[in-house]
């Protein structure tokens, strides 16, 4: 399917992720508001997705065969916007309009402004349920195609959706934060994804242990997270969210796994790449000042 990951490719991805981190800092300091830690922590995963994993076309965002990417944790949109810009969905210069009046780059993603998004988001706990809906819609369509072609139909009875042929034509990726596991709707969707055996969903949880008010285990303990997802009938993978090989291999394994949806718990360092932001919950919800941004950009090796 995908080309093998060569050392050259890995080096390219690392360089790309660093450029995306630089863009994140630049856009946040220009905006004067927004979230820093999560976007920096997820830069490697977004890079791996948009530059290696996803089936997508920046010049044809509505391509029916595209993989879907739902950003459930809308507050980390700086990394989504920066990655999309670097992937040529829109000009990199436009990143500096983040959160400004008239910008397509709303503070939290809104399809009215950026129709190429799969969904608007921001309020936590809603993304996975929408992924479940998209996956179910595809299953129904496939079962109807089966009915239309006369397959598996006995005396007018349509096949149960679970018996319908399953398409691997595309996958639905749902990006989630760990903090949004506090939301009840998250668990409702996890329960349903497991019940319906939606193996074309790949959820990726940014397990960075922070939320706005503090560390996740202090605010509302989430551990044992792996056991919880497993108990809800999900196939669970734990990875280092900064290791490109692990990210790419985990997605390949998720695609190959049948009968259960997969969640990849990606262990990440919030604020990754900027020493004074790393692992500090205080950086969850604020941007750097001009002085802080200068230090951050220097650490990231930005030309200035």
């Amino acid at each position: 399917m995908r080309e093998p990951i060569t050392e050259e490719k890995l080096t390219g991805l690392k360089k790309q992720a660093n450029d995306i981190r630089i863009s994140i800092i630049e856009m946040l300091v220009e905006a004067g508001s927004g979230h820093s830690a999560g976007p920096l922590g997820m830069a490697d995963i977004f890079t791996a997705l948009y530059f290696h994993i996803l089936k997508h076309d920046p010049f044809y965002p509505a391509w029916p065969e595209r993989d879907r990417l739902i950003l459930s944790n809308g507050h980390i949109c700086p990394v989504l916007y920066a990655t999309m810009a670097h992937a040529k969905y829109f000009p990199v210069e436009e990143l500096l309009t983040l959160r400004k009046f008239g910008s397509r780059l709303q503070g939290h993603p809104h399809r009215d402004f950026l129709p190429m998004l799969e969904t608007s988001s921001g309020p936590l706990g809603c993304g996975l349920a929408q992924a479940v809906g998209m996956a179910l819609a595809e299953r129904i369509t496939l079962s109807e195609l089966a009915v239309g072609s006369g397959l598996q139909v006995v005396s007018g009875n349509a096949p149960h959706p679970l018996e319908a042929p399953h398409s691997n034509s595309h996958y639905i990726f749902c990006m989630m934060s760990d903090g949004e596991h506090d939301e009840g709707n998250t668990w409702e969707a996890i329960m349903m994804g497991g019940k319906e055996k939606l193996d074309n969903i790949i959820a990726i949880v940014d397990r960075n242990h922070i939320q706005i008010d503090g560390n996740t285990e202090d605010i509302m303990p989430l551990e044992p997270m792996r056991a919880k997802w497993e108990a809800f009938n999900w196939h669970v993978l734990d990875i280092d969210g900064h290791d490109f090989k692990e990210i790419i291999n985990a997605v390949e394994e998720a695609k190959a796994y049948k009968g259960k949806p997969t969640v990849i718990i990606a262990h990440t360092i919030p604020g990754k790449g900027v020493s004074f932001m790393e692992n500090k919950f205080e950086w969850h919800g604020k941007p750097p000042t001009t002085e802080e941004a200068e230090v951050a950009l220097k650490e990231l090796g930005a030309r200035s």
Partner: protein, 324 residues
Amino acid sequence: MKLNPKLFQSDVEQEPIRAGFGRGLLKAGQLDERVVGFCADLTESTKMEDFKKAFPNRFIEVGVAEQNLVTVAAGMAAAGKIPFTSSYATFSPGRNWEQIRTTICYNNVNVKIVGSHAGVSVGPDGGSHQALEDIAMMRALPRMTVISPCDSIEAEKATLAVAKFVGPTYIRLAREKTPIITTAETPFTLGKANVLRARVTSHVAIIATGSLVYNALMAAEELSKEGIEATVINLHTIKPIDRETIISAAKHAGRIVTVEEHQKAGGMGSAVAELLVELYPVPMRIVGVDDKFGQSGKPTELIEFYGLGVHSIKQAVRSLVDKK
């Protein structure tokens, strides 16, 4: 306007408004394979069972999870389906308002929300199950169309109409048997109110919605014997509101009484008042529940107790007509 000829007879046919939804959904499913049914563990009482039987592969059981009910439906609509979601109105749109706001309206996807068991006429289940706030919640949402059919025939037409209409919609249904007011020939157009009772000279226009349209018509008949003539309008679509018909009624009658099985705050009467106060202010009375929760009881007892009966409507009209 052609209405049921037995409308004012004691043996007028009665049927729960929700039954019309059940028939409409089945037909909508037959007409369009994109129609999908979603229920939150209340398939029988929300009248989705016929659809479920006919289209098992297009029926999704979400369990007792109303937040998930509408968010999964939002995802399905994004993938091109036309989901109808149903539960009791206290729970959907009650419990999941923010999910409806963000994933359906803000996202602008084509989900049909159906809130059953609205109003105090739910009866014995008590106040926790009697939605009196849903019109206010739904009409405050940008892009949401809000419909409250007056009988089961209209509910069927409304269901078929919203299946064809592209955009978020809310249909409000009552539990109890309600007299059949309209006929198959009565027109139903989204956003266009029906003048059910027209008079050359009117002292008042009564604008009613949902299960209380019948009470409004009864009140008008009885007031006529007192020499008070009333136009009666069925405002089945509360949003977008039919400005033309309402302003014309205000000009014609000079006084407006609104009638609904909902809190006075934020309901259909408020919607009418918002329109008239800016464009054609006339004296008004709002018949509705006055900042109270419901309780257990027989539907008829509760309708009377909460000031929604024929007597209360007549009183509201008299207080307005006497004033002038």
